[in-house]
C-alpha cells in the first residue's frame, strides 16, 4: 500500500499569508478613515477617499484572498479530490495583489467613481470581477471530481460564496444606471458581499475548525441547514433599509423588513450550533483560542445582524437611515468575521506550514471582541442619537447656520463617535495583532506536525 500526495496546499498557504498583510494595511487605512470622519481636515485625504480605500484593502485584499484561502484549504479536505487549478491560482496571486494595490492607489488619487463600497472606476471593474471570481472555478471543478460522497455543511457555504460573489459584483457595478439604480445596486452588492461572502464563507470555515479542534462532531446538521438557507434568503436586504422613505417603491421596504429578519435567524442558528458542538468541553474553552474566536465571531455577527434586522422596520429605518448606525453594523459584522477568520487561520497555519501559533492569540481574541462590540455599539448609538435629533428638529437644516453636519452640531452623537474612535484604536490593534500571529507562526513558531493530504492506494 502506498500513500500518494493529494494536495500541496500551496494556494491556501500563499493566499492566507497575502490576506494577512492586506488585513494589516486595511485596518490602518480604516483607522485613518475613521479619524478623517471624526476630525475632518486632520489628514491629507478625506473620508470620502479613505473609506473606499479601506474597503478595497479589507474587502478585496483581506476577505477575498483570505476567505479564498479558506475555500482552497477546505476543498481537498472535504472532497477527497485535489484542488483544481492550483497552479493557476498560485501564478495569479501576484497579479491579484497588484490589482488590489492599484485599486487603492487609483481611489486615493481621486479617480474613483464614488460607488460603494469600493468606488472603482469602470475600467478597473473587469479585473476586479476576475478577482472576485477566483474561487468559482476551483470550487466547481474540485467538486466535480470529488471522491467523497458525503457533503459537509462547510461545502454549502464555500460553494454559494464562490458562486454569488462574482454575480453580485457584476450586478453591483453595472454602468449606465439611474441614480436610484446605482443606490440600489450598490446596496445589493455591499450587503451581499458582507453577508454571503464574508460571513458565509467564514462561518463555513468555522463549521470545519470547531469540530476538528474540539474533537466533537457537529451538534446538529439541521440547524446548520437553517443557518445556511436563512443567510441566503436575508443576505442582500440589509442595504435597502438605509434608503427608507426614499424614492424606491414602497413595497421594497416591506420585503426588505421581512426577509431581513432571516439574517439574525441565521446568526442564532450558526452560533447555537457551534456552541452546542463544543458542548461539554465548554470549561476547556479558555485553552483553545480557535474555539473562543469562532464563538465570539459568530456572536458578533449575530449581534450586527440583529441590529440590522431591527433597523429594517420602517419606524426604525426612517430614524437611523443614512446615519452612522449602519457604520456600526458594519463594524460589528466585520469584527465578527475577523474573529472567524482568526479561528480558521489559527487552525490552518500549523497544518499548512508545520509551525504553531503562539499564545498571543488569546489577547487578539480579547481585543477584537471588546473593540468590535464597543466600537460597533457606540457608532450605533451615535447614529441613533443623530437620527433622533434629525427627527426632532430637521437637523440637516443646521447647515444654514453652522455649516456642518451632525458631528459638529449634535453633542451626544459627537461624544459617542469620539468614544467609538477610541475603541476603534483597540480594535485596530486586534486586527493587526491577528495578522501578526499568522506571520509569527512562520518566523518564530515552534515546529509541529504538518498536515499533508494523502490518498491510499493498494
Amino acid at each position: 500500500m502506498r500513500a500518494l500526495l493529494l494536495a500541496s496546499d500551496t494556494a491556501a498557504t500563499r493566499y492566507l499569508f497575502a490576506a494577512a498583510a492586506w488585513l494589516a494595511i486595511g485596518s490602518l487605512t480604516w483607522l485613518a478613515a475613521m479619524l478623517a470622519m471624526r476630525f475632518p481636515g486632520l489628514l491629507p485625504l478625506t473620508f470620502g477617499r479613505l473609506r473606499p480605500m479601506a474597503m478595497i484593502a479589507l474587502g478585496l485584499g483581506w476577505l477575498v484572498l483570505g476567505l479564498g484561502a479558506a475555500i482552497f484549504y477546505l476543498l481537498p479536505r472535504l472532497t477527497g479530490a485535489p484542488l483544481a487549478l492550483e497552479k493557476l491560482l498560485n501564478r495569479a496571486l501576484p497579479l491579484l495583489i497588484l490589482i488590489v494595490a492599484a485599486a487603492m492607489a487609483i481611489v486615493g488619487l481621486g479617480l474613483g467613481d464614488g460607488r460603494e463600497p469600493f468606488a472603482l472606476p469602470w475600467w478597473l471593474d473587469l479585473p476586479v470581477l476576475g478577482l472576485t471570481a477566483l474561487a468559482l472555478g476551483p470550487t466547481i471543478l474540485t467538486l466535480s471530481k470529488r471522491q467523497e460522497g458525503m457533503v459537509y455543511p462547510s461545502l454549502w457555504f464555500a460553494l454559494v460564496g464562490a458562486l454569488w460573489l462574482p454575480v453580485l459584483y457584476l450586478a453591483g457595478n453595472l454602468p449606465g444606471l439611474s441614480a436610484l439604480g446605482i443606490a440600489l445596486s450598490d446596496a445589493l452588492f455591499s450587503a451581499g458581499f458582507l453577508n454571503v461572502w464574508a460571513v458565509g464563507v467564514a462561518t463555513g470555515a468555522a463549521y470545519y475548525v470547531v469540530p476538528k479542534v474540539s474533537g466533537q462532531p457537529l451538534a446538529n446538521r439541521q440547524l446548520a441547514r437553517v443557518g445556511f438557507w436563512s443567510l441566503a434568503f436575508g443576505a442582500v436586504w440589509m442595504g435597502v433599509s438605509q434608503f427608507a422613505a426614499g424614492p424606491q417603491p414602497e413595497w421594497l421596504g416591506g420585503i426588505a423588513g421581512v426577509l431581513g429578519l432571516a439574517l439574525p435567524v441565521a446568526g442564532l442558528a450558526n452560533t447555537t450550533n457551534l456552541a452546542m458542538t463544543i458542548g461539554q468541553k465548554w470549561p476547556a474553552i479558555g485553552a483553545q483560542p480557535v474555539l473562543k474566536a469562532a464563538l465570539a465571531g459568530s456572536s458578533l455577527v449575530t449581534l450586527g445582524s440583529l441590529l440590522a434586522a431591527l433597523a429594517g422596520f420602517r419606524s426604525a429605518s426612517v430614524l437611523v437611515g443614512l446615519t452612522l448606525f449602519w457604520e456600526g453594523v458594519w463594524v460589528l459584522i466585520l469584527s465578527g468575521v475577523a474573529l472567524l477568520f482568526g479561528a480558521f487561520a489559527w487552525q490552518a497555519v500549523p497544518n499548512l506550514v508545520g509551525r504553531s501559533v503562539d499564545r498571543s492569540t488569546h489577547q487578539v481574541v480579547k481585543r477584537l471582541s471588546i473593540g468590535g462590540v464597543g466600537t460597533g455599539l457606540l457608532l450605533v448609538l451615535a447614529g441613533y442619537t443623530s437620527g433622533v435629533a434629525w427627527s426632532g428638529a430637521g437637523f440637516s437644516g443646521a447647515f444654514e447656520t453652522t455649516g456642518a453636519g451632525w458631528s459638529a452640531g449634535v453633542g451626544l452623537a459627537g461624544i459617542f463617535s469620539g468614544l467609538a474612535l477610541a475603541l476603534f484604536l483597540y480594535l485596530t490593534w486586534g486586527m493587526i495583532g491577528l495578522a501578526i500571529t499568522i506571520y509569527r507562526a512562520l518566523t518564530s513558531g515552534k515546529a509541529t506536525v504538518q498536515e499533508v493530504l494523502v490518498v491510499k492506494q493498494t
Binding site: 445589493l188 451632525w406 494523502v454
Partner: protein, 245 residues
Amino acid sequence: MTDYATAANTLGVPEAILRRSVEARAKADGVGADELLAAWAGGEAMPAAAPSAPATSAPPETAPGVPAEPAPVAAPAAPVAAPAEAPTPPRPTGPVAPPVLVGVHQRTNGVLAGSSAILFFSILLAFVVPSLPQPATGVRSSNLAYSRGALEGQEIYLEQGCGSCHTQLIRAVVADAKLGPVTLSDSNQVFGYRRVGPDLSAIGGRTEDSAALANLLRGAGTHPAVTGLSDESLASLLTYLRESA
C-alpha cells in the same frame, strides 16, 4: 545520489514529502541526506538534537452511533522539521478519516440550484424591478437640467467621494422636511450613503455665495480641504453644487 524513490517506496510515504523533509532536516542539522535517510529507515540515532514534536495527532473520537465521514484525506505526515526522538517518519496506518466531520450523502446540485434561484430573485426584487422607470405623475420631476459644466462637476463630486459624507436625497420624513422637495425616482443627483455632513440636494437654493462654497472646499470651517483639484475642476464642482437646487 540519494535514491528518494526507493526510500519512499520502502517507507510508504510520498516521494515529494520525503524529499522535502529530508532536505529540510539535512540542511538544518548539517548532515548528508543519505545519512539521514539511513537513520530514519534503520533506527540509527539522529545526528543532531532537534525540538521534539508529536509524530501524529490522535484522531478525535467519533460520536457514538454517528457514521464517520470516510474522507480519503489523512492528517498525519512528515513533519517539516523532523523530530529527533522520532527517527522514523510517521507511517500511514490504514485509512485515516477525520471522524468528527460528519456529512451525509448528498448531491451538491440541490444547493447550487436553490441558492442560484434565491440569488436570481434577490437581484430581481432588490435591484432590477425597483430601478425600472416609474410612470411619471406629470406633477413635478427631480431630473435637473444640469449644464455641461455641472455634469463635469458631478463627475468630480463622484471621484472625490463626496457621497461618502453627503446625500442628495430628500426623503418623505420629518427629519428632511426643511431640506426641500422630496426626491423622486427620476432624480439624476448622487444619492450618497450617509450624512456625516449636510444634505446637498438643494444646496444651490440655500446659498448663492460661490466664494463661501469655494472656501469650504478649500478647507475652511469644519469641511476638509478637497486636494488635487485644478481651478477648472473646482469651478465645475461649484457649478454642479450651484445648479443643484
